[in-house]
């Protein structure tokens, strides 16, 4: 029996701080095999990236001549090899121009040297504006996926440890902003005095939505309401709202208030799993319309499109702005 990846024309990977997700695809973009691991920039030293990737490629049976395209923190200065930021505002095709080739894996012209594989990493995007300096790595490829799927104008919310909110105009990235919502929730819930009262007890959607509404109406509540998460249980015991729900709601409500412009443009929520569910509840509770995009499908769409620019001999380019087959 042949491994599923033996006929792969391209391998795409989203390699972040805490995980690696790799997909083997054929030239039409059909998924042949995939791999996930918890080996991210946070745990890997520079020389561990190549063997870690090869391990997954071997399991999938991917031939040595199949190229690999990577986005995410693997391209950070402290990652595998730095892919310097391109600058916003920008179109997303510029990501292809900014891709770097992994040293020691170089190809000469179109000819591979020996058995070395062609591995490239996409750049992140920097907003070099001293009043609102910002950076992203990985999210730009999700955004490109949305544009490939027809999003030309609108706001995109990409929730996470560091949530990104991006403005897309004419299919280009106009600007973006980052909120440390997920990290703040973890710091306060796990390491602050609130840990005693916040992390015990269950989750309540009602308490979450109430807190989202409070902080959205008055973002200063996100900080001013925190100590009540300790004092409330001290004074009222179990008769107070579920702390984790309230803490999460305060942070997410303030994020939406700070990041969503009231410009009437369509809002796209690009997320997966629990994060998608939380933000969808928050937006719905606020009466804000949005459409939901699967962030994992979007990053694959974005990577595949850039791969068709970088390796046109392998992957036929699809018309821009349409839907995927």
């Amino acid at each position: 029996m042949t491994a599923a990846g033996a006929t792969a024309d391209i391998v795409l990977a989203d390699w972040g701080t805490t995980s690696l997700r790799a997909w083997a695809l054929d030239r039409q973009g059909n998924l042949l095999d995939e791999r996930r691991s918890d080996s991210g920039m946070g745990t890997l030293s520079r020389d561990q990236y190549a063997p870690e990737l090869q391990r997954h490629l071997s399991v999938m049976g991917v031939p040595d001549e199949t190229p690999v395209l990577i986005c995410g923190m693997a391209g950070a200065a402290q990652g595998w090899q730095e892919a310097p930021y391109i600058e916003a505002p920008t179109d997303f095709a510029a990501l292809a121009d900014g891709a770097i080739t992994i040293a020691g894996q170089a190809h000469v012209g179109q000819a591979h040297v020996g058995q070395t594989r062609d591995i490239r990493i996409l750049p992140g995007i920097a907003q070099r504006d001293s009043a609102r300096p910002d950076v992203m790595r990985g999210e730009e490829t999700i955004l490109h996926g949305l544009v490939c799927n027809g999003v030309q104008d609108g706001t995109v919310c990409l929730p996470g440890t560091h949530s990104k909110w991006a403005d897309i105009a004419g299919g280009r990235l106009d600007g973006f902003r980052t909120m440390m919502t997920g990290e703040m929730f973890a710091l306060l819930g796990d390491r602050s005095i609130l840990r005693h009262t916040v992390m015990s007890g269950g989750w309540s959607d009602d308490d979450f939505i109430t807190a989202v509404g409070e902080a959205h109406a008055d973002p200063s509540r996100a900080l001013a309401g925190l100590f009540g998460l300790r004092a409330g249980p001290l004074l009222f015991g179990d008769a107070v709202p579920h702390g984790a729900s309230r803490l999460s709601g305060l942070m997410i409500g303030a994020e939406i208030a700070s990041c969503l412009h009231s410009d009437g443009k369509p809002l796209h929520l690009a997320a997966t799993g629990k994060m998608a569910a939380h933000y969808a509840k928050a937006l719905t509770g606020l009466g804000i319309g949005f459409d939901m995009v699967d962030a994992e499908l979007a990053v694959r769409t974005g990577l595949f499109d850039i791969a068709s620019i970088l390796w046109p001999e392998r992957i036929p380019q699809r018309p821009q702005g349409g839907t995927t087959e």
Copy 2:
């Protein structure tokens, strides 16, 4: 040579989470001796309080019959012995009624049993309001000290790990609110992704005051401006503002915006050391008038006054509302 504390009529102590400060005074309130240590609720088990206190009393030569009055976290449920909260709104004389006597140190009537010392701990104050639940332990005694020194109406800012803002009306505590400003600064500066960029480099008063102004004008900046403290140095290197100054300014500016009512009442800043200097700069930068109160002197004044209520045979009561001799 006799130890300075041998003639002490009273020992006062502020025993918090991270430190103990104890003062031996005569009946007129003159300071005879003092002791400081880093042994607070955070490091002491319940049975370590008595020997720790006695160690300091012995060094000062305080006689066994001299009583001790304590305020602060030593009276918390997880401290030496719980002194249950009294409830706001309240006058400060109620602190005397709420004082507890350390078990095993009890006196019968006015007669001491054997050599056991009369040791009492003051209660904290709870705001049992489900919309703004709050608690304090230690700060109430500073506030009482201000009232003893003539403050009848106004707002008092008590900066710290958990800053308290109190409303005093007619010499009573009307209400209060807590901001986790100091803890938030420490969490973000030491444990978040900002630690790499925030804690390197020096301090700039100008950058601090600019950030105070930004967050005071728009408290949502306190969260929305955080990631820029990482992205700025990544993109602009040393040409960006000093991170710690900006982080501190964002937190303090948001605190002042959230906690200071614009009711025109006088503002009193009760603090010591670096904290006093930072908040004074922030308020001055915002053009907000205030008077500065030494929080350590105020807590002694408050403790001494309560001691005169609890032990009238030892300490003659002073007229209320006047100035100290």
